[in-house]
Symmetry: C2
Subunit: 278 residues, 2 copies
C-alpha cells in the first residue's frame, strides 16, 4: 500500500491506474478509522479496481468552538486498518498541500446546506464542499464513496460534484452500527462508559418515531416525542430531530415516500448525529 | 473546426487530443468576438497544440439591472472569426448543459473579489469563478487564457484554479486597443458615434495619472485628477479609478513596484473598464 503525501503524486498515481484501464475509487476520511470507514473501502473495491483512502482533518469544516484540536488522530493505526481492508494507497497530505497561506476559494452548495447540520454548524458545509471538491479535483477518481451516516453531507457532496461537472460518480454507503444500534463515529471515542450506555437511546427514539409516522402519527408530533425520549434518556441537548424528504430536505407534513428522520443531540462532550429511513 | 454542444463531447474531444500527446488551450468567451478574443486564441495556439474557444453568455455573472438580455450575440459571425483564427473547436453549450433547473453550487474567491468590480457588481465574481471552474472541469485543458483587460477577473480565476488544484495553467493576454487607445470590448458596440469619440479619454486620463505617479504625485491625488478629467470629457459617472498593487489589490500609498491603475466609468448606456501598469 502506497502512502502518498503530495497532490502531484496523488494525481500521477491515479492517472497511471486509469491509463492502464483501471477504475479508481476514492474514500475521503478524517482518520480515526473505524468499521464504517472500512465499509467504504470495501464498497470502493467492489465497484472499482483500485481504492485510495484519504486522511485529512479539515480545519475549514470546524467552527471556532468545535473539536478541531482534540479530534482523534492515529495515523499508524489508521494505516494498518486501511492496509488490512485492501486499500491500494492512502493520501495523507503534507502541511500546505491543501491550503496555502494565501488560500481564498470557497465552494458553497446553497439551499440544502441551510438546514439541520448547516443551521447548527455555520460554515460546516462550505468547509466540506470545499475540501471534497479539492480532493476530487486533485485525484479525478472514477467514483468516490461517503457514508450515509452523514446523509446531508452526502447530498451536499453529490450536488457539488454534479453542479461542478466533476467526472466522478458519488456513492453512499449504509451506516454501520454497533450491536445496540449506535452509529459508528470517530467522535464516539469522546463518550464515557456511562454515556456510552445512554447513547443508543438516540437510535431507539428514532426507530420509534419512524414507526409512529408509518402508523399514522403526524411527523412533527413523532419528532417531538423522540426529542422528549432522548432528553429523558440522559442527553443534555437536542439540536434537532426532523422528519424530512431525503431528496429535498423539505420538512414532512405527512407520511410519504422517501422520508427520513434526522437527529443531532449532545451527550456529555459528544455531539452525536444519526439518520434512518422512515 | 468542430462545433461542440455538450459537455460530454467537450470532455471526450479534449481527452482524445491529450491522450495523443497534444496540449490543449481553452479560451472562454461570452461571444461577440473581437480582435481581443482572437489574440487569446493566437496565444493559445502558440502555447499549445490545440485551441478550444467557448461561447457562453453566463447569466450568473449579470446583476438584475445589468445587460444580460441585450448583451450582443452573433453565433455565426463568432464561429467564422474563431475559424479564421485557427481554433480547433468551439464549445457552445446547449441549454441545460451549464445550469440545470436544480443548480445549487457557487465558487467564491474571497478578499480580492471584494473591491472594484466586486464592490460595483455584487455577485459578479462568484458568477465568473463558478462558470470558469465548470468550464475548466468540463474540459480539463492544459492551459486557459483570459484577457488582462479584465485584470481583476484574471486574478480571481488564477486564484480559483490554484486553490481548487485544477490541472490547468492560467495565462493572461495583453489588452488589445483601438488606434486611439480604447480597449476592445464587446460592450463598445453600445456606444453612439459621439460617445465613441469621447471613450478614449478614459485611457488617456489613466496614462496621465500613471505618469504623474511615476513623477512623484501621491496615487490618490493622481486618481482624483483622472476622475475629474474623465467626467470633464463627457463620462456620466466614474465607478472607481484606483491605483493598487496588481498582486494583492491593496490601495497604493506611494510609488512602488507592480502598481496598476484600474478604472470603471459609464458613458451613455455603456460601462467601460480598463487598466494599465503604472
Amino acid at each position: 500500500m502506497d502512502v502518498i503525501r503530495t497532490k502531484a503524486a496523488l494525481r500521477a498515481r491515479v492517472a497511471q491506474w486509469q491509463a492502464a484501464g483501471e477504475a479508481v475509487a476514492l474514500t475521503p476520511t478524517m482518520g480515526a478509522v473505524h468499521e464504517g470507514h472500512l465499509s467504504l473501502v470495501r464498497l470502493g473495491l467492489e465497484r472499482a479496481d483500485r481504492c485510495v483512502a484519504t486522511i485529512f482533518v479539515n480545519p475549514r469544516q470546524f467552527g471556532p468552538n468545535e473539536d478541531f484540536t482534540t479530534y482523534p488522530r492515529d495515523e499508524e493505526g489508521d494505516l494498518a486498518k486501511f492496509r488490512s481492508a485492501g486499500c491500494d494507497a492512502v493520501y495523507i497530505p503534507d502541511p500546505g498541500q491543501m491550503y496555502g497561506t494565501d488560500y481564498k476559494t470557497e465552494v458553497t452548495v446553497t439551499d440544502i446546506s441551510d438546514v439541520m447540520e448547516g443551521a447548527s454548524r455555520p460554515g460546516f458545509f462550505t468547509g466540506v464542499a470545499t475540501v471534497v471538491s479539492k480532493l476530487l479535483i486533485q485525484s479525478l477518481p472514477d467514483i468516490a464513496i461517503f457514508g450515509e451516516k452523514d446523509f446531508q453531507q452526502l447530498a451536499v457532496i453529490r450536488t457539488m460534484a454534479r453542479d461542478l461537472d466533476l467526472p466522478t460518480e458519488i456513492l453512499g454507503a449504509p451506516t454501520v452500527r454497533e450491536a445496540d444500534g449506535l452509529a459508528l463515529s470517530s467522535r464516539n471515542a469522546y463518550l464515557t462508559p456511562r454515556e456510552r450506555e445512554i447513547a443508543p437511546s438516540l437510535h431507539r427514539a428514532m426507530i420509534a418515531a419512524a414507526e409512529s409516522v408509518r402508523t399514522g402519527a403526524a411527523p412533527h408530533v413523532a419528532a417531538e416525542q423522540a426529542k422528549r425520549d432522548v432528553l429523558a434518556a440522559g442527553f443534555q441537548q437536542v439540536a434537532y430531530i426532523d422528519i424530512r424528504s431525503q431528496d429535498t430536505f423539505a420538512p414532512a407534513e405527512a407520511l410519504s415516500e422517501n422520508l427520513r428522520i434526522f437527529a443531532a443531540a449532545t451527550l456529555g462532550s459528544c455531539r452525536l448525529i444519526d439518520n434512518i429511513a422512515v
